[in-house]
Each structure stands twice: as structure tokens, then as C-alpha cells.
């Protein structure tokens, strides 16, 4: 594969074998969906911002020609506000994609056109995917996409990405790229300034016009970049010219430019959209408002939690029974009959058998729960409910030192803690970042954990679920409160969170998403399940497990009041939380845990050792030392807190 063709690229002289397509756009405008539609691959999509944190790239063929397609995190404009947006801009500036596909949510055309203005100035051929066009029609807004194509000078394609509509047209447009013509007009004075700076820029620099504009705006990242590439002297030279040009303006250059651009956007929209005077009040809007209402929001949240709980407990329990009867029991019976009792039968279907504790634990116990839970979770994601939770919990989170940008990552932690930890990258305040990373890793269950916890506690009753999760919430808030007091204040970030429109999700999209989540689970976790079972088998055989159990007896048996077998669960937690929870579920089924023990066990496994990927993410965001220290602190406190919970429960309810 020879995609590297050197750093220089002047038009068509050296045609690249593989053309690069970058998909960019505002947060939650369907970039990943378009990526999936174009490439036939699958990346996670959901109706909320920050679903994509890292670049996703893949090769694919469009009309028989090879392309490399890059899916990017959300970007508001090329004048950067945050580190994660810088990543996207850097990608565009360094990789110089051949084509940019901008995703626009038709409901928020104006917001997106600001970015369009920026992208047009790059001079890269563009295609616009005008997503969710069905929704605007329903709202009585009519968008003239041809008019947009004409005004912007780039093909604007109406699409409903969720259903894959418009994909063929996008492909066709990608095959016939042409240079965009217009960008926002800035008037003679600014244009003169731009040309003056442009002429000062190094010969081989791409995107001269945009670079000049960004320098005029005082973009710090860009100056650094130029310094790295061209040296201090050149940058100083350029800075002089920039300064001279800037002095020509009275007042703030940024304001002047924003106003010009904004007027351009207004004008484009004014000429290309018509709005019906009368439109139906929308159910979705009413629902969105209720879901974040301080009073009505709580019952709605409770309704979702209880529904999920009931589905997980009953539907998944039912599936579990069927699978056990059809798959697990016959296999175990068959193998026991085939092999005489002894090493091999133990290894396969014994207490720590790689089939029983490995394969079947994953498929029979965990998979049904995850299927049901992910279906429900996917539904909540796609209607766009989750970011609205930010509004509900904001006050509480403020009390524990999380303001502004730190709120969304914490809420995302209920999906995947690793992703949520990576999202904290955008936090500039060290304090907030520390608290957020800690709290995400601490008592928040990830989606998979939550699903299985529901199943475990469902065996003993809904009250147990309330006690366990009440405890976790309490512990989390106390921890946040303590950290907030302990760490010195630094700058607070502003809370500016876009809330997605509530949508009726496509059942197919949810099923597909669930399918992929389960597929990834099996692909990633199944081998770990089996290896972990084998490892337990080995340390049990050579006697280490017994040694550990007797060493830990005072802690586990005394302090936590749990049976010693819970150590197996804790060891499995190190590998994969679902595996541990699956074993826990089996123990509850087997009657090895009583009411209090089930609660304590769920609480400790939820807090104990964030999964391996989470720890890696913590180290990545906070540094290895801090990350590991956090993980250690979390483990120690999980033992202490679960023990206290045990004492309280025993005191209240008796044994």
C-alpha cells in the first residue's frame, strides 16, 4: 500500500492511488452514520454528541475505486475552542483530504453553515449531506437543497442517513468532485489583509487563505504549528505582517469577521428555506421538555430504569432458562458421560471449567442479559434521552465540583466508562478532570455491568436493587464532595451543552447497534472469559487459590460477610466485569448468597477494579502514576465501603 506520497501535494501532478475522504460536521449530525453507509462498516452511532471520540478510518470502494474514509469527532468551526476539535483540524491540515463530506442536521442549518463557510475557504472539494431532511419537512420547514448547492457551490444532498437514503447520491457526488467557488465575502479591507498575509506565508504551505484568516484571528495552535514546521524566524516575520493588518481594524477583528460570516449564513438560509406559519406542536419537543423538568423528569427517569429492570430480569431470565435447557445442560451431561470424572472433565465442565465458567458463562448467562439491556439502552440513546439527563443532574454534579464540560462525560460513563474517560480530554481544568476521571472509574456501572447487576439483584428483589444503587449513588456523591473539598479550585469551564432533538428511533438501527455491541462483546470478551476460567482452574489446581482464600478469610468472610467463593468473582473482575458478574449470577441462582450478601457483592464488584481498558484510559488521560494511584485508591475504598455497608445492613435487618 503506497498511500504516502510525500508531504507535497500540488493538485493533479501526482495522483494518489487512494483518495481520502474526511467526514466532518457539528456534533450529532450523523457523521458516523454516513461513514457506515459509505463504507459498509459499522461504528457506533447514537443520537447524542460525543459518540465518536477518536478518528475512525477504513478503506472502501466507491464505484470500484478505492477510497480511505475518515470519520471524525464533532467540530464547530476551524477557529478552535477545544483540544478535541484541534485533533480534527490537525487531521484536515496535515492529511489534506481530497474530499470533505460535511454532515449537516437540516434542523440546525444555520449552526452548520458557519462551519461550511470555514471549510469552503480551504478550497477542498466538498459534498454536503443534508441529514434528517424528513424532520424539517414535518416541522413545516422547506429547504431548497438545489438553491443551497448553487449558493455554496458544492453539491448538497438531501439524505436520511439513518435509513441510508441519499447514500448513492453522496457516492456519485464523491466520484465527481469539483472545486468549491464561494466562501463568505469579507469585503475589500479584510481581503487585502488576507492577501498581504498570504503572500508572506511559505510557498509550500497549503490552505494559505484559511491560515491567513486564522492567524488574523490570533489562533495560538496554528502559530505553534508553523513554528515547528518553518522555524521561529518565519513565524516572527509573519506575525509582523499579521500585526500590521490587524491594526487597520478598529475594534475586535474576531467580531468583525464573525459578523460578516453570520450575515452570509443568514443570507444563505434566508434564500434557501421557507417556513410554514403553522406547524403542529411536536410530541418530541414536549417530551424533551418533560424529560429534563425538575419534577416530571424524575418519574420519566424512574420509568426508564424500572422498564429496563423488568425487561432484564424477566425477559433475559427467560432466555437464560431456555439456553440453559437447550445448550448448557445437555452439553454438560454429554461431556460428563463421555469423560470420566477427573482432570479433563474438571477442566471442561468443572467448577472452573473453561466451558462452564468460560464459554457458557458468556453465552448462556451474560449474553441474554446484554442483548436485552443493549436493546433498551440503544433505544434510550437513539431517542436522544441521555444528554437531557445532564440538565437534571447538573445541580448535584455542581455540588461535587463538576461544572461545565465535566457533566457530559460523567453521564456518558453509564454507557462505557472507557469512552467517558477519554471524553474528559476536553476538560481544561485539572481539578475537574481529576474528579471526573475518578468518579467515572469509581461507583458508576457501565452499561454491561448495570445490565448484569440488574439481573443479579432481580433474583433477590427490586428493593435490593434500590439499596445497592442507592448506596453506589451515595458513595459516588460523597467521594465527589470530598474530592471537591480536597482539591484546590482552578478555572471553571462554562457549561454549554447542546441537547439533541428527541427522535423516534429506527428499530432497525437499534437492532443493528445491539447486534454489533454483542458481536464486539463476543469477539473481545469471549476469549478473555475462557482464559480467565483456565487461569482460575490452574491456580486452583496448584493450590494458590486456597492459599489466597484462607489469607483473605478475615477480610472477605469477616469484614464483608461474604462466602469465600466471592474471591473467584473478584479475580474474574480483574479480567472482565461481565465474567465476574456472570459468575455472581450463578452463585445467586445456586443459593450461595443471601439477600444482604447479594447486595454487598454487587456493590463491591461494581466499585472494585475498573476494567483493564478503563485503567489504560485513566493512565492515558491522567498519566500512568496518577492513573494507577487512582485505581489503587478505588480498590481500597471499595473494600472499606462494602464492609461498612455490610455492617449497616446486618445491623438493620439481621443476618
Amino acid at each position: 500500500m503506497t498511500e504516502e506520497d510525500g508531504s507535497q501535494r500540488d493538485g493533479s501532478s501526482t495522483p494518489r492511488p487512494v483518495k481520502k475522504i474526511a467526514i466532518v460536521g457539528l456534533p450529532n449530525t450523523g457523521k458516523s452514520q454516513v461513514f457506515n453507509n459509505l463504507t459498509g462498516k459499522y461504528t457506533l452511532v447514537a443520537n447524542y454528541p460525543l459518540t465518536t471520540v477518536e478518528m475512525n478510518r477504513t478503506r472502501c470502494e466507491i464505484d470500484g475505486h478505492p477510497y480511505e474514509v475518515i470519520d471524525t469527532p464533532g467540530l464547530h468551526c476551524l477557529y478552535i475552542h477545544s483540544e478535541e476539535e484541534l485533533i480534527v483540524r490537525d487531521l484536515i491540515f496535515s492529511e489534506k483530504p481530497d474530499i470533505i463530506i460535511q454532515c449537516i442536521d437540516a434542523n440546525q442549518l444555520k449552526q452548520s453553515l458557519t462551519l461550511t463557510g470555514d471549510l469552503l475557504e480551504l478550497g477542498i472539494p466538498m459534498v454536503i449531506s443534508l441529514n434528517a431532511i424528513d424532520e424539517t419537512a414535518r416541522r413545516g420547514v422547506w429547504i431548497d437543497s438545489r438553491g443551497l448547492s448553487r449558493r455554496l457551490g458544492v453539491p448538497t444532498i438531501e439524505s436520511m442517513a439513518v435509513n441510508g437514503l441519499g447514500t448513492d447520491e453522496i457516492k456519485a457526488a464523491v466520484r465527481r468532485p469539483h472545486q468549491p467557488k464561494h466562501g463568505p465575502p469579507y469585503g475589500d479591507i479584510i481581503e487585502d489583509g488576507i492577501s498581504a498575509i498570504e503572500s508572506e506565508l511559505p510557498e509550500d504551505l497549503s490552505f494559505k487563505r484559511k491560515t491567513a484568516l486564522l492567524l488574523l484571528l490570533g489562533d495560538p495552535f496554528l502559530a505553534d504549528r508553523l513554528r515547528d514546521d518553518y522555524g521561529e524566524h518565519t513565524v516572527a516575520q509573519i506575525a509582523k505582517v499579521v500585526d500590521r493588518v490587524r491594526r487597520r481594524f478598529r475594534g475586535d477583528f474576531g467580531h468583525v469577521l464573525n459578523n460578516k460570516r453570520s450575515r452570509w449564513v443568514d443570507e444563505v438560509v434566508e434564500h434557501t428555506t421557507r417556513k410554514q406559519q403553522l406547524a403542529l406542536g411536536e410530541f418530541s419537543k414536549a417530551f424533551a421538555r418533560l424529560s429534563r423538568h425538575p419534577v416530571f423528569g424524575i418519574p420519566i427517569l424512574a420509568l426508564f430504569v424500572v422498564t429496563t429492570y423488568l425487561l432484564v430480569v424477566h425477559v433475559a431470565g427467560f432466555l437464560d432458562e431456555i439456553l440453559s435447557a437447550v445448550l448448557l445442560d445437555p452439553t454438560v451431561e454429554f461431556i460428563s458421560r463421555l469423560l470420566p470424572a477427573g482432570f479433563w472433565s474438571e477442566l471442561l465442565v468443572g467448577h472452573y471449567g473453561i466451558l462452564t465458567l468460560g464459554l457458557f458463562n458468556a453465552i448462556v448467562t451474560v449474553l441474554p442479559i446484554l442483548s436485552v439491556f443493549f436493546l433498551m439502552f440503544g433505544f434510550l440513546e437513539d431517542i436522544g434521552y441521555i444528554p437531557n439527563l445532564c440538565v437534571l443532574v447538573k445541580r448535584i454534579l455542581e455540588k461535587i465540583g463538576l461544572t461545565g464540560k465535566a457533566i457530559m462525560p460523567l453521564v456518558l460513563g453509564f454507557g462505557c466508562k472507557t469512552m467517558a474517560t477519554l471524553v474528559t480530554r476536553g476538560l481544561r481544568s485539572r481539578k475537574e478532570k481529576f474528579i471526573a476521571v475518578y468518579l467515572i472509574a469509581f461507583a458508576i456501572p457501565c452499561a454491561a455491568q448495570l445490565g448484569i447487576d440488574m439481573a443479579v439483584l432481580g433474583r433477590v428483589g427490586f428493593v435490593a436493587f434500590l439499596i445497592a444503587y442507592g448506596t453506589l449513588a451515595f458513595v459516588e456523591i460523597v467521594a465527589g464532595f470530598a474530592l471537591n473539598k480536597a482539591i484546590k479550585d482552578d478555572e471553571r469551564s462554562a457549561f454549554i451543552q447542546e441537547l439533541p432533538a428527541i427522535r423516534i428511533p429506527s428499530p432497525k438501527a437499534i437492532v443493528v447497534k445491539t447486534y454489533y455491541r454483542l458481536y464486539w462483546f463476543l469477539k473481545e470478551a469471549l476469549p478473555i472469559f475462557i482464559v480467565a476460567a483456565a487461569a482460575l482452574f490452574v491456580i486452583d489446581r496448584i493450590g494458590i487459590l486456597d492459599l489466597m482464600k484462607s489469607a483473605l478469610r478475615p477480610v472477605v468472610g469477616g469484614w464483608l460477610g461474604l462466602p469465600l467463593d466471592i474471591i473467584d468473582v473478584l479475580i474474574l473482575s480483574l479480567a472482565r466485569h461481565e465474567a465476574a458478574a456472570g459468575l455472581l449470577l450463578n452463585m445467586v441462582d445456586a443459593g450461595a448468597l443471601n439477600y444482604i450478601q447479594a447486595i454487598v457483592a454487587v456493590v463491591i464488584t461494581t466499585m472494585f477494579v475498573p476494567c483493564f481498558a478503563n485503567i489504560v484510559a485513566m493512565c492515558k488521560e491522567m498519566g500512568v502514576k496518577t492513573g494507577l494511584a487512582m485505581a489503587a485508591a478505588i480498590n481500597v475504598s471499595s473494600f472499606i465501603l462494602a464492609g461498612i455497608l455490610n455492617l449497616i445492613l446486618v445491623a438493620l435487618m439481621g443476618r
Binding site: 475552542h81 474576531g254 429534563r292 445532564c390 454549554i496
Partner: protein
Amino acid sequence: MNRKRDRDEHLEQLWSMAEKGEDSIETLRSALGSEFNAEVIDELASEDVLELTEEQSRIRLTTKGKDCARGIIRAHRLAERLIYDVLGGDFESGACEFEHTVTRELVDSICTLLGHPRSCPHGMPIPEGQCCRNSSRIAQSSVVPLVELEVGRSARIAYINSRSDQELHKLDGLRIRPGVVVTLHQSYPSYVVECEGGNIALDEEIVSSICVWREPEDAQPAGQEAPAERGGRGGRAGRFRHRRGRRWHSGGQASHEPDSSAAGG
């Protein structure tokens, strides 16, 4: 984009001519210079904004035209007053652009803030607005922070006292910027603001830094979503279209008609 501006300039000039008692098309031509545009005149005539005599030598505004022109002149002269008195600047260049982009609410607000001035710095009369007739003394239509807006109401943003450039930029990207109408949907546990079709959750600090023009009491019916785009809300509608050329505010009866006015001096 400058069709509206061209039209405005023609109307302004015609008003000024009427003040001096002139109605010759040649005077208009020489006063406008290169900006004189016969197409615009035809267009305005076809819309019943101005009338021409048969031999096309005399030209004057119709009643409808006077209404339009009054608004523009009023904005222009108030802007001059504002810039001259309050800001002490070069009033002509700023005011020239001003009248093409402001809304009537904004003009009335400036008028009230300045205490309903009668004449511009050149001594020409400033046509009266609704606010002068109501002789609004309390700065009713003044600027308040968005936090003070009632939940469910909409208001136009006047300016933003942002703490940082970046924040301002970020808000700008979400189209929370001066001149845009926002609706406050919720204030607890967090503020939720709707702006150009998007919902955004904001914290109190930011919401307090956004300042909006408070609507006079009678202007807005109780809690609604983003205001209807056009049509019947007592002349206060059309918020989204305030820059459109084809819409004219029909602002009450004349009292400062060019021919009847002798005020100023």
C-alpha cells in the same frame, strides 16, 4: 444582498427631498449619484411605494412609502444621535449602515434610552415612533440579562458580556449571538435555551452574561415557543425576518410627516 440597501437609500432620499419640498426625479438622480437605479424605482413603483407622474419627471412617496421611509429615517437619525452624543464618534459612516440592519424594536429601544430625541445632530427632525407616542419614560424596552426572562418567553439578544473570546466564539457557533431570538425553556436545574432550532443547556453564569431586549408587556402573548415567523403579533412579529426587504413595518399614524413637520432646528 444589497437590494434592500439600495431600496432603503432611495426611500431615504425621497423622504429628505419631501422635507425640502422637492419632487423632481432629476434632484433624486443627482442626490443619489451612482447609486441611482431605475430598476429599483420601477420595483418600488410597482409595489405602490412611490408614484411617478406620467411624464416621469416628478416622483414622490405614497402613504405606504412614507411609512417605510419614516422607519428608515428614524433609525438613521437616531443612530446618528446615539453615535454622536453617546459614543462621540464619526456618526455619518456608522449610521449609514445601521438603518439597514436594525429592527423596529431595537430602534424604539435606542429612542427610549436616549429620551426620545426630536432631531438628529444635523438638526433634521427624527420621525416619532410608537415609543415616543406612548412617551415611554421607564426604559421598558431596555436590555435585561436573559436570566430575568420568564420561562417560556422569547427575546432578541442585544449583546453578550462574555468572559472570554473563546466562549463568545463557541456561543457564536451555536448561533447565540446579538440579533438572534432565543427562547428560554427552563431555568432549573439548568438553563435550557432554544436558538435557531437547537436546544442548548447552559449554566447560570453564561445565561446572565447574555443580555436581551425586553419586550414591552403588550407585545408578546404568554409562554410560547419560538415566535411565529410572520403575521399577526401586533407588529412585533417577523422577528426572524427583520432583515428582509419586502416587509414594511406599518407604524401607526403619521405625525411627523415631512410636509407637516416643522420640528427640530
